[in-house]
Symmetry: C2
């Protein structure tokens, strides 16, 4: 079992933290995990990419070569990384208009709206997205995810981020992806 | 130019954040950077390892294969990662007793004592260490490092962490390593 995640969006969306929490949850769950953040010319343009590999075995190559899951919170990220998706699933925000040239399986979910409208804080979109990814990919369970969130989010934001996690798990359960239920 | 850093210590020392700030500083300075955190059985034992690669060019392989700099804040980390050091420099905390079987060049600096005794907060040892690494490896300059610290440390801890950065740069300047001065 090796599962590759690529989390992409804009620079201010906190996807590095989402990747760190996902890796942390996997390790609490007894797996190995590697989290990578690449910075380069594209990062300067305002886009952001973090990757997480989760595996039962040692992880020799720590980068995603054929992601199982691509999260794309912006149109730019969707166009940049969607084109190279093969067997994996693309999870976009509902505000991203889909492009017919990108043929990988795609599910659009209201991640940004859930953060800003339901939770009242745009900045927790990253943890909503984390809940979506963990729920759909069935990484860890809710208790473990809560532990990982609490271990990694800034002090004083626990409660809000735990709500964001639950909202994300809920979106996953409603996504229509088989098995994406809250354990 | 490709510079490989490995930051090792115990789980609670915040070395992931130090690696993130180092990568951020490099990117503000116009370089490419990749930051990696690996979790595995050894992480569960309480040790922690983060890596940062900085390069003028694209970074194809994001892991350190022959680190230029190994930071080791604990004896365990020093013994675990010091043995494989070849041409690079080991930077240990002064509390770590050196082992004659580890032959790489080594400099011991009072990183933990500077954090707890000079700055009064053990938890900023990670940013002291960041200052040491950036100063010795001549990554970015003080202004850029300050920007990167402010961008990444938790809100409300800026002032303390900027002091920790300066203390680390000072340790680097006093380390006797040629060129390790504050720009």
């Amino acid at each position: 079992m090796r599962v590759e995640f690529r989390l992409s969006g804009s620079g201010g969306q906190g996807l590095l933290l989402a990747g760190i929490v996902l890796a942390e949850a996997a390790i609490i769950d007894g797996k190995n995990a590697v989290q990578t953040q690449s910075y380069g010319p594209e990062a300067r343009g305002g886009s952001s990419k973090a990757e997480v590999i989760v595996s039962d075995e040692d992880i020799d190559y720590p980068k995603a070569t054929d992601p199982d899951y691509l999260l794309a919170l912006t149109k730019d990220a969707y166009l940049t990384y969607g084109a190279s998706m093969k067997r994996g699933l693309i999870i976009t925000d509902s505000t991203v208009s889909l492009d017919p040239s990108i043929q990988a399986r795609t599910v659009a979910l209201p991640i940004l709206a859930t953060a800003s409208e339901v939770l009242g804080k745009k900045m927790v979109a990253n943890i909503v997205a984390l809940g979506v990814l963990a729920g759909i990919a069935r990484i860890a369970n809710r208790d473990i995810l809560r532990q990982a969130v609490k271990a990694r989010v800034p002090k004083g934001t626990d409660e809000l981020n735990l709500k964001a996690l639950d909202a994300g798990l809920q979106l996953a359960a409603q996504s229509g992806i088989p098995g994406a239920t809250i354990r």
